[in-house]
Point group: C2
Chain length 519, copies 2
């Protein structure tokens, strides 16, 4: 019933610095990055204005054109987010019918703003957009986000309007995101452009960038705060009249804040260039892709909601695989799986050790593992001996904690026993990765006990915390994730996350080899 | 990260009577059912003592043999559950080293209890079990639950001990559940035998029975209270030295409280009889089966954790399909999917209408639907006209609420608009089932607005509530489920639930037809 994994609100936000869980709240403001390692590359469009993508995420000044009425949707909300999340640049609300909003002056039009503007966000009627785009061009604005809908996704009239907007922008060297988009999020500077209310005022900084062709993966829908989600950027492409997946892949490949790229793509505009860029990126950063359109029916539906034309699925499937991108199966996977890639080392091989509170869960985990390309590790003699020292009932893989639970509970040292088991497995040359269905009785000193494992482990560990108290499960999961151990909602997904980390490590090696051979 | 769907605690437990969400708390105590419609059928064992299964769930008296020390594991916890959940029968704690526990007299041995005993639950060292089983036989106890482990799942010595126990019980006409089990739950009488602490004191009555070969699906792991889970019975088979899936299927088929049967089975002991009984049951009640062992590795692991021998997967797959049972893929599905079968009507056909807050989610939902055997409904002309009256942007399937959201939000009548859309779809002859990715802005009067739909709809509706506030999502989900509309954790699972409901309706018709032909 939960839409996304839940964390209890009101928990401590204290996090280890190693995972960079600083937030975008005003308390942790930093000046916008100047020395970004972003490098210009050929996007195939607007060759003189590629900095438009930079301005999309790191503008020095933002103008918001839309309704300034206090409501749950509109320009008012965007202005409020920029203030609430501590955006450090200049903010210019624009609307001829208001004098002030949230204590700030409202400008009648873009032309009335004396300063230069990097980014304009517009949420107006579609019919008003061409005029505002003209104003942007006249003012030498670098980038525009057209939130307004009613363009190519609606009807032929909308498609015509979109072509008109595109043509004005193109001639004026203005980069455009949208139309029909909620825009972007940058966790580093508090830039949140969505016109829908976001019921929190903090996002956590981390390595994961999410791009999508739906606003569903935006801050007004994702519980980023409650998840303590380690975010670098979000971008909703909308109708992609200009800025598209290739631009974003190029930008994110060079973005020092981003270590994992997750993309939801209904279609790819320039397949050849995108695949070339994928191949360049994969050796450095994993790229996960959620690509719907596996059926004729869904391809038809795509056409109507973003006006895009989708190709045959098998073509995408083969091309992504060749380029080393990893295809995932659902929104949940696109959001959840990147955590293991952002936090944990890659598995050196595919041999899985399963630690489980339930023999039954272990068995199901093995089914998932083998179907996903992992294999059950044959534990070394010394590991079996050490496990047997901890408890005579533990010898084997899966390591079923169940029979030992009452004894562990009686001795009250569950966390240190589990640590001992994990340390033993990490040091076993026959083990490459570890999934843990973790006892919910784990108490207290988790951080201290598991801390050393975080700093020494070279093998990924993924958790699942089953529990009769969801609050307690969330608390344990949150503590584990604060240490960089991802916690997943069931045994299948923790194993699947490890399998995807392994798939990526294989794809990376293959793409690197093919690059070396090509030289 | 959440292990199971979460509901906020402390919410009102007020529920409509139609779903029978009364609880097992002392406040809602009822005397044990006398006039049960349970009918005796041939179980292939202990022909004279089939009432043993009845005593397993509805004993008039229970003896608990184990440690009475106040601890998180042991006989103390079982006695405490019986008291906390308001078990109305007689309770006899048994342990030679204690005089009282929780204000009750502790008996040195079973022989010291003057009254007759229906059910004995024992959590002692394995070596003590044969003696206690002998005492049970001497005292003409009907049924025993052997919680103790260290039997066939452990080693050859344990297997020998298990054979010994089985032989004593068999000769003495004592039915035995286990060993190596947490036992049972009966929501109707507060019978909870698990020796692990359960951190809540209420479970909700409903139609779903869960049987498993792991304690993981027990009340000490499942957040039954926070989920408001509509439970009838739980049974953990453990090593199945006697009571097995055939006994339970027979009992649950005749159990008036149970409307959906969900079984996790690592192997089936008597395949022919089980399939015959499945075929008899499927026309009346859906049976969902989670059967691991799709890979050689997992079949090997099964042998070690319950001592059972598993057969080839394809044999099970074909047999289950033939008998009309529906196979599910994970613990989560085994627990979540039954809700739609317990609460909603079966779809008359496979034509799906998709209502979605996000076009992107709609597209992915269609992929899942088509892959699972559903098809996208062609809405009738009058439906398209009515949708168009509600908002000109709504005409089509999927019905993408996204473009209309700002207008709906401005008018503040989201719930009644959504009701209007759903009512229109329910009345469309071209629509058989409906999935809804529900706007998280839905407020307040959900119960009043959607109530009529519950009482009139003959087509199943499944929800997903994406939200930036998990607390709010849980609250909406809980409200929807109180009306009998199941809420799932993502768009894929809500569509999959509808597809499984359709699969069951097809299987039911097929099995009924074949029964008629066989006559």
């Amino acid at each position: 019933m939960t839409s996304w994994p839940r964390y209890q609100t009101g928990l401590s936000t204290k996090c280890p610095r190693s995972i960079e869980w600083s937030t975008t709240s005003p308390r942790s403001l930093r000046p916008p990055s100047n020395g970004s390692s972003f490098t210009m590359r050929n996007t195939g469009r607007h060759p003189s204005d590629r900095s438009g993508i930079f301005s999309l995420f790191e503008p020095g000044s933002v103008a918001v054109v839309g309704s300034m009425r206090e409501a749950r949707f509109g320009g008012y909300q965007t202005v409020k987010h920029l203030l609430d999340f501590g955006f450090p640049g200049k903010i210019y609300p624009v609307n001829p019918n208001y004098d002030t909003v949230l204590g700030m002056k409202v400008y009648p039009s873009l032309n009335d703003i004396a300063d230069s503007i990097d980014l304009v966000v517009m949420m107006t009627a579609a019919s008003a957009v061409p005029g505002i785009i003209r104003d942007c061009v006249a003012k030498k604005v670098k980038t525009a986000i057209i939130v307004a809908d009613g363009f190519a996704e609606r009807d032929e009239e909308g498609a015509r309007l979109q072509r008109q907007v595109d043509s004005i922008a193109r001639a004026g060297h203005l980069r455009v995101l949208g139309p029909n988009t909620i825009g972007v999020v940058n966790s580093a500077n508090g830039l949140i452009t969505t016109p829908y209310r976001v019921p929190y005022e903090q996002v956590f900084r981390g390595g994961i960038a999410i791009c999508s062709q739906t606003g569903l993966l935006g801050p007004q829908t994702l519980p980023l705060f409650e998840m303590r989600y380690p975010l670098s950027k979000i971008c909703d492409f909308g109708n992609k009249c200009d800025i598209n997946e290739l631009d974003l892949l190029e930008y994110l490949a060079g973005d020092p804040q981003t270590t994992v790229i997750a993309m939801h793509l209904e279609e790819v505009r320039d397949g050849r260039s995108f695949l070339r860029k994928l191949k360049e990126t994969v050796p450095e950063k994993p790229v996960l892709i959620l690509k719907p359109g596996r059926t004729t029916e869904s391809r038809k539906a795509m056409t109507s909601h973003t006006g895009s034309l989708a190709g045959e699925d098998y073509v995408y499937d083969g091309a992504f695989r060749q380029a080393g991108a990893i295809r995932v199966d659902s929104f949940r996977e696109l959001v959840d799986i990147p955590k293991i890639l952002a936090w944990q080392p890659l598995p050196p091989g595919n041999r899985l050790a399963v630690v489980t509170i339930s023999g039954g869960a272990g068995v199901l985990g093995i089914d998932t593992a083998v179907q996903q390309g992992l294999t059950l590790a044959h534990l070394s003699r010394s590991t079996l001996d050490r496990l047997s020292d901890i408890s005579p009932v533990l010898a084997g893989n899966p390591i079923d904690l169940g029979p030992g639970l009452p004894a562990f509970m009686k001795r009250g040292d569950m966390a240190s026993h589990l640590y001992g088991i994990l340390e033993t497995l990490v040091n076993d040359d026959n083990v490459d990765c570890i999934s843990v269905a973790c006892p919910w009785m784990l108490r207290g000193a988790l951080t201290e006990v598991f801390g050393p494992l975080r700093s020494t482990s070279v093998k990924p560990i993924a958790f699942w915390v089953p529990s009769p108290s969801l609050t307690r499960a969330h608390e344990i999961s949150l503590n584990l994730e604060a240490l960089g151990f991802p916690a997943y909602p069931d045994c299948d997904s923790s194993v699947r996350a490890l399998a995807i980390a392994y798939k990526y490590s294989v794809a990376r090696s293959r793409v690197r080899r093919s690059e070396v051979q090509a030289r």
